[in-house]
């Protein structure tokens, strides 16, 4: 059986125009990679929101990363001050990965 190690699965929900700024933070803490998933629609305290617009200003994305505990903590620290002003949402979960030395 292959050996697995525990790593962190980090999701940052963010307005699409701000994705480049999040990626800069990711690079700052030296996380090896990231993947962006488009949100099709959603809703929150402001009520229902539908992403169906020519103006991309209201579009949202999830930036998904696998990283070790240490880098995940660093990233959370970096992201925290932006949470309120930029309307971000960050979640950190545990996952087992194969070839964990890459992250």
């Amino acid at each position: 059986m292959v050996t697995t190690v525990q790593r962190k699965r980090i999701e940052i929900l963010v307005d699409t125009p701000l994705v480049p700024r999040v990626i800069r933070l990711i690079k700052d803490v030296d996380i090896s990679g990231w993947s962006v998933i488009k949100i099709a629609s959603g809703g929150g305290r402001d009520g229902r929101w539908d992403h169906d617009e020519v103006t991309g200003a209201a579009a949202k994305s999830i930036v998904l990363m696998i990283a070790n505990q240490e880098k995940a903590d660093l990233l959370a620290d970096k992201v925290a001050p932006l949470l309120e002003s930029h309307g971000l949402l960050i979640t950190i979960g545990n996952v087992e990965v194969v070839r964990g030395e890459r992250f």
Partner: protein, 326 residues
């Protein structure tokens, strides 16, 4: 003209979209298709403007229209900012963001105006496309400077810091903004190619234009009405401003256009450019440069109220003013 406007298919499709969204129909235009149509429309008007300038050559009117447009782009947000702070009761950040939208322009409003005016025998000059492209971004700079100058709360200091950090990023974005590049690029291609070079691509870009505009306005009607229905934060004062500001700015634009000697058609279009508010280039820039500003406010005002107002009433109004002054 208002009655002719209201029986034009272009406007009727806009009203259809607006109506469909109001009765909560699930009608929707796929987003990539809407983006494709906006790319098509920008390429087409850029090309047509360029081809026209290629045959008329650079004129002094062109130069004065360009200077007037840029100057208005920089200054209109100042006026808007103080109206929004005083009458609209918005904070500095939100006022700056909304002001940037009203200083910039709406491509679709421009295109619709050109169509309607041409049908009324008031064809604007081809170079007005270039003026529009020049007016897309100056207001972003004014809006940001105003917000930074007047915002005093700690949250804003932090923002100002972040904004400075990404200052060069923003300047870059402003200068390389996709729609500006496409408009200017297509304009330049039209000038290089001229009438003869335009001939083989004319069928797509000239003949299909009106029909595509119908479908695009159908989508814009849907988006405007949906935005309007979601706008919980729009007070009566803000809604009033979203109609008063275009009237004011548009009238200024027509007056300036007439003063610098533009034909009535072009003066009317300059008014439409001043009256219209951006809902593509500026919102994206604001989300980046002033994330604290509330998109619910600036999108609702520019897309939900000002845009339909201009399409249905504003264009006819500025045409009438231009004819009166011209």
């Amino acid at each position: 003209m208002i009655i002719e406007t209201l029986t034009s298919p272009v406007i009727l499709f806009f009203i259809l979209g607006f109506f469909a969204a109001m009765i909560r129909s699930d009608l929707s235009i796929p987003e990539p298709f809407a983006k494709a149509m906006s790319i098509y429309l920008m390429a087409a008007i850029g090309l047509k403007g360029g081809v026209e300038v290629a045959s008329t050559g650079f004129t002094s009117e062109l130069a004065s229209a360009a200077i007037a447009g840029v100057t208005l782009g920089f200054t209109i947000p100042i006026l808007a900012f103080f109206l929004l702070r005083s009458i609209g009761k918005l904070g500095a950040i939100d006022s700056g963001a909304v002001a940037a939208h009203y200083g910039s322009v709406s491509v679709v409003t421009f295109v619709t105006a050109v169509e309607l005016l041409t049908n009324q025998g008031m064809q604007p000059d081809g170079f007005m496309v270039g003026v529009m492209a020049l007016m897309e971004t100056p207001a972003i700079i004014t809006g940001l400077l105003l917000a930074r100058a007047y915002a005093k709360r700690p949250g804003v200091a932090e923002d100002a810091h972040a904004a400075k950090e990404s200052g060069s990023g923003l300047l870059h974005e402003v200068l390389t903004n996709g729609s500006v590049i496409l408009l200017m690029g297509a304009f330049a291609i039209g000038m290089v190619a001229g009438e003869a070079g335009f001939e083989p691509i004319k069928p797509l870009f000239a003949i299909g234009f009106n029909g595509v505009l119908c479908l695009f306005l159908l989508d814009m009607g849907l988006l405007a009405a949906r935005r309007l229905m979601q706008s919980k934060k729009i007070t009566f004062h803000l809604a009033t401003l979203a109609i008063f500001m275009p009237i004011l700015n548009g009238t200024i634009g027509v007056a300036v256009g007439t003063l610098i000697g533009l034909e009535p058609g072009s003066a009317a279009v300059l008014g439409v450019l001043c009256a219209s508010a951006s809902y593509i280039a500026v919102p994206a820039a604001m989300r980046l440069a002033m994330p604290q500003a509330d998109p619910g406010i600036y999108l609702s005002m520019s897309l939900g109220i000002t845009f339909p107002f201009n399409i249905i009433f504003g264009i006819s109004l500025f045409a009438a003013i231009a004819n009166f002054l011209g």
